[in-house]
């Protein structure tokens, strides 16, 4: 009897949120755009009109035309192809770095929240102090000195974002630890693993999902920013950030080289932010605005 009630309650919470999300048109649009971008990134090698590094030196930089929908750059490379491949890298770095921050943040936060007491105070004090510093400076130093390795890039960028994740997770874990149903579960003799899996994790998931969705655009932004400064992704690989830099360098003569990657990046960031906002509103039990 109890189990039925519990399952029902769990289902309706998520269904409720899903329903609210579906009503938020901007969030749905964001999700759609994101899906398109990710799909495009995945199928690029098969779908791109030209080879990644195919040059056409006779053509040089050309405006958008029927043959090259987004034009070409100074080496005659098709811009659409470059934007597609750049998207692959940008998105990949985005997801990978977010995964890093997720992992570190969740472990750190869950540990602090679960252990509580002095350990928690200390751990959170460290977070507070680190929070105030501009991590980007450290990332810049890292990238300059330790080489432009893409794996290092994920790690470095991920390291910038884990703090808030840790805070969120710790807050959730702490408030859950003291709830009556967890105490009851402990009294009933459920194993720690069971408590964590069936009770803690579903309740922590909500804010974590929201934050992950909002971290990805931040991370992509940092990657783009680093690439723009010449410290991120390196040629021959390309990312939207790098493309934007190349475009900015010659924007007077060939503005389309700046415009298209900028639009691609901005739209993706838009989509992710709207989706993240929508998720946050949907999962917020207060149901803001209703």
């Amino acid at each position: 009897m109890d189990r039925v009630v519990q399952v029902e309650k769990g289902a309706s919470l998520w269904q409720d949120a899903l329903h609210r999300l579906r009503q938020n048109k901007l969030a749905v649009a964001g999700l759609a755009i994101l899906a398109v971008m990710v799909a495009a990134a995945l199928v690029t090698p098969w779908v791109a009109p030209y080879a990644y590094d195919a040059q056409d030196l006779d053509l040089g930089a050309a405006r958008p035309s029927a043959r090259h929908w987004l034009g070409t750059d100074q080496l005659g490379r098709d811009v659409l192809t470059r934007v597609l491949y750049g998207g692959r890298i940008s998105l990949m770095v985005g997801f990978a770095a977010t995964a890093v921050s997720l992992l570190v943040g969740v472990l750190y936060g869950a540990t602090a929240g679960f252990l509580g007491g002095r350990t928690d105070s200390l751990m959170m004090r460290i977070v507070d102090i680190l929070y105030a510093l501009p991590f980007t400076i450290f990332v810049i130093i890292l990238m300059v000195f330790f080489g432009r390795n893409i794996i290092l890039l994920f790690l470095a960028i991920g390291a910038v974002q884990w703090l808030t994740m840790a805070r969120i997770v710790r807050g959730q874990v702490m408030s859950l630890r003291n709830t009556e149903f967890v105490e009851a579960a402990v009294l009933m003799g459920f194993s720690h693993r069971r408590i964590i899996l069936r009770h803690l994790i579903p309740n922590v998931l909500g804010p974590v999902i929201v934050y992950v969705t909002l971290t990805i655009p931040n991370v992509m932004l940092i990657e783009a920013f680093l690439s723009f400064l010449g410290l991120g992704v390196q040629a021959p690989m390309s990312s939207w950030g790098l493309l934007i830099k190349e475009g900015a360098d010659c924007m007077e003569e060939y503005p389309w080289l700046l415009l298209f990657p900028s639009i691609a990046l901005s739209i993706t960031l838009f989509a992710l932010n709207f989706l993240g906002d929508g998720l946050r509103d949907a999962l917020d039990p207060r149901g803001a605005g209703e």
């Binding site: 501009p134 810049i140 130093i141 920013f225 900015a248 990046l265 901005s266």
Partner: protein, 307 residues
């Protein structure tokens, strides 16, 4: 209150210490040295250079020497610009960056607060959706995209504003807007949220029941509470303005500390890097202390708790 402030200031010192140590060892342990680029230099001159910059001593010795120097406030000589000390470079570059940062903050607060407060007055109407959508655009267009686009539009196509440099007032407009735009957007969202929450409180109804005009209700009774999220945002915002300055100063060729830092990083100018990092860190930490104090002071309930 003074004890609170003093305690927060004291907390800053160990953090700075950790940062110095971390960065010091990080850059020294990295492959390559500051003079790798000078290939046309003979070995003997190289050795002299290294001796001058104390690079031939064992690492821990260098570290301790550096710490000793720090106590005197001496950040050492620049590796890349002989004859210049890091202190001098910072003193040249920082005022420029500070000016840029202040203008950007003014832009951000001016546009952001107005947009946010106006939007909160009539939620879920056009007066709300339009500014908030523009705010979203501001957040999603990175400053290194906005910068070139503004340059393209206002500098090259329309020719209204100069595209690079820092010589006069007209030079400062585009960089300030580029740097401030993203923060205007965040502040707009935060102030809208904060105001909405405050305006829904009971004491606002009491204020209306006293016969106050709507303007007075919003400004005199609502603003103080509604702006709290903006004040707490100022800390991270300062940090962001700082890192934003790297890009903006690079794009617009502004001779500020941000640009020096980036160049120093590329040039592996150890002392410059360390000095700038320390300077920035100290700056931000102090700024955060100020923000914390301001927040506590703004809410009378917190003021009493802290004493």
């Amino acid at each position: 209150m003074t004890r609170f402030v003093a305690r927060r200031i004291l907390e800053v010192i160990p953090v700075l210490f950790v940062i110095v140590t971390l960065v010091f060892f990080m850059i020294r342990l990295a492959p390559g040295g500051p003079f790798d680029a000078e290939r046309n230099v003979s070995d003997e001159i190289l050795r002299n250079l290294e001796a001058y910059y104390n690079l031939d001593a064992p690492l821990h010795r260098q570290y301790l020497d550096y710490l000793g120097q720090l106590l005197w406030g001496d950040l050492g000589p620049s590796f890349k610009y002989p004859g210049w000390s890091v202190n001098e470079l910072i003193l040249t570059g920082f005022p420029v960056s500070l000016e840029l940062g202040l203008y950007a903050l003014l832009v951000a607060l001016g546009i952001g607060l107005t947009a946010g407060v106006v939007a909160s007055l009539k939620p879920n109407t056009l007066r709300d959706y339009v500014p908030m959508s523009l705010a979203m655009v501001g957040i999603c267009i990175p400053n290194f995209v906005l910068g070139p686009l503004l340059v393209l539009a206002f500098g090259l196509w329309l020719g209204w504003l100069p595209v690079a440099g820092w010589e006069g007032p007209s030079y400062k407009i585009l960089p300030a807007i580029t740097l401030g735009a993203g923060y205007a957007a965040y502040i707009a969202r935060l102030s809208r949220g904060g105001m909405l929450e405050v305006l829904a409180q009971d004491f606002i109804r009491t204020a209306r029941a006293k016969g106050l005009t709507e303007a007075r209700v919003v400004l005199r009774h609502g603003l103080r509470g509604g702006l709290q999220p903006v004040v707490s945002f100022l800390g991270p915002a300062a940090a962001g303005l700082l890192s934003g300055s790297f890009v903006v100063e690079t794009i617009f060729q502004v001779p500020g500390l941000g640009r020096f830092f980036i160049q120093a990083a590329f040039n592996r100018d150890y002392t410059m890097i360390l000095g700038t990092v320390l300077f920035y860190a100290a700056l931000i930490l102090m700024f955060n202390v100020i923000v914390d104090v301001a927040q506590a002071w703004l809410d009378p309930r917190l003021r009493d708790e802290i004493g």
